[in-house]
């Protein structure tokens, strides 16, 4: 997966269908050129923090409920790292729970988006956040 082209989007999502739908939307808008999909928090942490790896994606889309290491923990690690905390992290989850929202913001999440059940709304949400964070937003460089 790792090649010389810098990773644009890191999608951390345990549900393969949700991942496929997300990727489909991003592709439709030409936003998934250098996208990496990881299935759990542990893999995400390895990808970001392994020795020798210097992966700095332009955007991280993070699910919260995942096996092994959950999204909150991954978010915490990213935002505690001097270098990685500059990466915009958008939580993309099914959870509407208040404490998840508050906890994510306390850790420094850049955006929190609840995945709509209705596909049209889901498409709209993913497209908007992809366009915003990858095209409209000016990240620190």
């Amino acid at each position: 997966m790792v090649n010389n082209i810098p990773v644009e989007v890191l999608l951390i999502e345990d549900n393969p269908e949700d991942a496929e739908l997300t990727i489909r939307v991003l592709k439709k808008h030409n936003l998934a050129n250098n996208l990496v999909h990881l299935r759990d928090g542990e893999a995400a942490l390895n990808f970001l923090f392994d020795k020798g790896s210097n992966n700095i994606p332009r955007l991280i889309l993070l699910d919260l409920k995942m096996p092994k290491v959950d999204g909150i923990e991954v978010l915490g690690k990213i935002k505690k790292d001097e270098q990685k905390k500059l990466i915009p992290v958008v939580v993309l989850t099914s959870s509407k729970e208040e404490h998840d929202v508050i906890e994510s913001y306390k850790l420094g999440v850049n955006a929190y988006v609840v995945k709509p059940v209705e596909f049209e709304k889901f498409v709209e949400a993913v497209a908007k956040l992809g366009l915003f964070w990858l095209l409209l937003n000016q990240p620190p460089r």
Binding site: L21, T93, S94, E97, V117, E118, F119
Partner: protein, 573 residues
């Protein structure tokens, strides 16, 4: 001196005392009177005595004179001189004794004059006898002498009669005095005895009443002691140092100590866990300063080291100078409640975990169903016929519907777990905002929306907001088919409650199903007619109930519906 005696008894005592005092005074005065009377009587007897003596002197002189004339015995001269002297003394005494009595004084004066005549006669006789016995005898036996003797006798007789009359009179008076004294004395004595008898009865009655009162008191105090000990709550008292000086049986049973191990031996502090001890120190000084403490929750360590949770209320008992004497404390055992609360908290946590996983795990597959159906429609549009498209749309509609159901169910469950945060809520502003937001979503509709002035309510703002959102949405939804939708919101006062209402001119419902109106997933209309999950009114009902209020509705088919609710100032316990 403070008097504890009954007023009636006191009056009786004073009466008896005054009778006794007047008895004494009366006796004293009476004895004074009788002394005077008896002295008068003895004086009268003295007068009589001296009159008799004068009389007898006269008679003896007369007799001796006759003997002298006949015998010529010269000793008569000495005898005569002695008798005359004695008579003169009697006269002098009599003169002093009777000078206040005119009759007697006059009699005595007559005796003096007659006596003088007699002395002259005797002198003549003595002189004559020296020369002639016969001449002297002539004088002695002369009629004039006989007349003189009889005159003296007459005067003496009359004086004696007069004095005897006085004596009789005085004796009679004395007798009357004595009789009166005895009568009065006896009357007063009987009165005293009567008073004392009445006093005795009164005192006896008072003592009997007091004894009965004492018995009743001791019975009552036994009963109170029983209540104190057997009460379902703990009672205790602490002195100024915080040492337990009284504790009832219930308390002792809770903590498992014996009375003698606790009373005057343990401080209340000794029973506390370290955390509670910290709190208690403040509280005890607060009790002393402000005079009471209420609803202090403390954790106690029992003798067997088990935990006991109690709520303590206490009042400070102070002397008249405001110094703390002891506390009067009540303790309620809330251990069972505490354990139940812990169970509820654990159950709530479990429920929270469950709803969390529901929200996550149930929504993801629905999204896939909807998403892949849509992809199928998009990517295979050319190969799928119309029926296939229709079937796919049904799958998608149901996925949407289930998504809504899950969302509403989660809202409903969240509302049950959420803490009430009561504040003053301005219903006018709240209804205004909600109405604006909801009407903005209605296009191409004629809506007449009236909001009358609404009283403020004491409730949770976000929940109140949810109530109005659901009620106004319903009113808008069910009046959709009317040409002009009419909705009115207002409030009125009923039985000291402010009752809010929202009325619409929509399709209404059949009142026989009104009991199903507020149940979860209960619907009175078909989904095809009016969309919805059947959670909205259940949610409203839950919110109103959590505020201690009530909601109900009145409706008729095709005549509209009115929903009423009220929220009390405080949640009734």
């Amino acid at each position: 001196m403070k008097v504890y005696i009954d007023k009636k008894v006191l009056v009786g005592f004073l009466l008896a005392l005054s009778i006794l005092v007047s008895l004494g005074i009366y006796s004293y005065r009476n004895s004074q009177d009788s002394v005077i009377t008896s002295s008068m009587v003895s004086r009268t007897n003295e007068v009589l005595y001296h009159i008799e003596k004068l009389h007898s002197s006269h008679l003896e002189i007369e007799a001796e004179m006759t003997r002298f004339v006949l015998t010529g015995d010269t000793s008569f001269a000495g005898f005569y001189r002695d008798e005359i002297n004695a008579a003169r003394e009697h006269y002098m005494v009599l003169y002093e004794l009777i000078k206040d009595n005119a009759t007697l004084s006059k009699g005595l004066d007559s005796i003096r004059l007659l006596g003088r005549e007699k002395v002259e006669l005797i002198s003549r006789v003595i002189m004559t006898r020296k020369n002639s016995e016969d001449s002297a005898r002539m004088i002695v036996f002369s009629p004039s002498n006989r007349k003189l003797v009889s005159r003296i006798n007459d005067v003496v007789e009359s004086m004696l009669a007069e004095e005897k009359k006085i004596l009789d009179h005085r004796m009679m008076e004395n007798q009357q005095d004595v009789t009166r004294f005895y009568t009065t004395f006896l009357t007063l004595l009987i009165l005293t005895v009567l008073t004392i008898v009445i006093l005795f009865l009164l005192i006896n009655k008072t003592l009997r009443a007091r004894l009965q009162a004492e018995r009743a008191l001791s019975r009552a105090s036994e009963e109170i002691k029983g209540l104190y000990n057997e009460a379902p709550c703990g009672y205790h008292s602490l002195n100024g140092d915080g040492t337990i000086i009284e504790m009832n049986k219930t308390w002792l049973e809770w903590i498992g100590y014996k009375r003698e191990e606790v009373i005057n031996k343990m401080a209340f502090l000794d029973l506390f866990t370290p955390a509670s001890r910290e709190r208690y120190n403040d509280t005890f000084s607060k009790l002393k300063s402000q005079g009471f403490i209420s609803n202090v929750e403390v954790e106690i360590v029992c003798k067997d080291h088990s935990a006991l949770f109690v709520i303590v209320n206490a009042t400070a008992i102070k002397d008249k100078h405001g110094n703390f004497i002891k506390s009067s404390s009540t303790a309620f055992n809330i251990t069972d409640r505490r354990l139940a609360e812990e169970k509820v908290i654990a159950a709530n946590k479990e429920l929270e975990a469950f709803t969390y996983s529901v929200s996550h795990d149930l929504r993801a597959p629905l999204r896939s169903i909807d998403g892949y159906s849509k992809i199928l429609q998009e990517d295979y549009a050319s190969t799928l016929d119309r029926e296939a498209n229709r079937l796919l749309q049904i799958i998608r509609n149901n996925a949407h519907r289930m998504g809504h159901l899950i969302d509403d169910l989660l809202d409903f469950s969240r509302m049950g777990r959420k803490e009430l945060d009561r504040t003053k809520v301005d219903m006018n502003a709240l209804v205004g905002h909600v109405r604006q937001e909801l009407i903005a979503q209605e296009v191409n509709r004629k809506i007449e929306f009236t909001v009358k002035p609404l009283k403020e309510v004491h409730g949770d703002l976000s929940m109140m907001r949810q109530v109005w959102i659901n009620l106004i949405s319903n009113a808008l939804k069910y009046s959709r088919k009317q040409e002009v939708s009419r909705i009115e919101i207002g409030c009125k006062t009923e039985d000291n409650h402010t009752v809010y209402y929202i009325q619409d001119n929509g399709v209404g419902f059949d009142m026989k199903y009104s009991d199903k109106l507020f149940g979860v997933f209960q619907r009175l209309h078909k989904v095809e007619e009016f969309d919805g999950t059947g959670v909205g009114l259940a949610l409203v009902h839950r919110i109103i109930s959590r505020h201690g209020g009530k909601i109900w509705a009145e409706a008729q088919i095709n005549e509209g519906a009115t929903f009423f609710f009220f929220i009390p100032l405080q949640i009734p316990h």
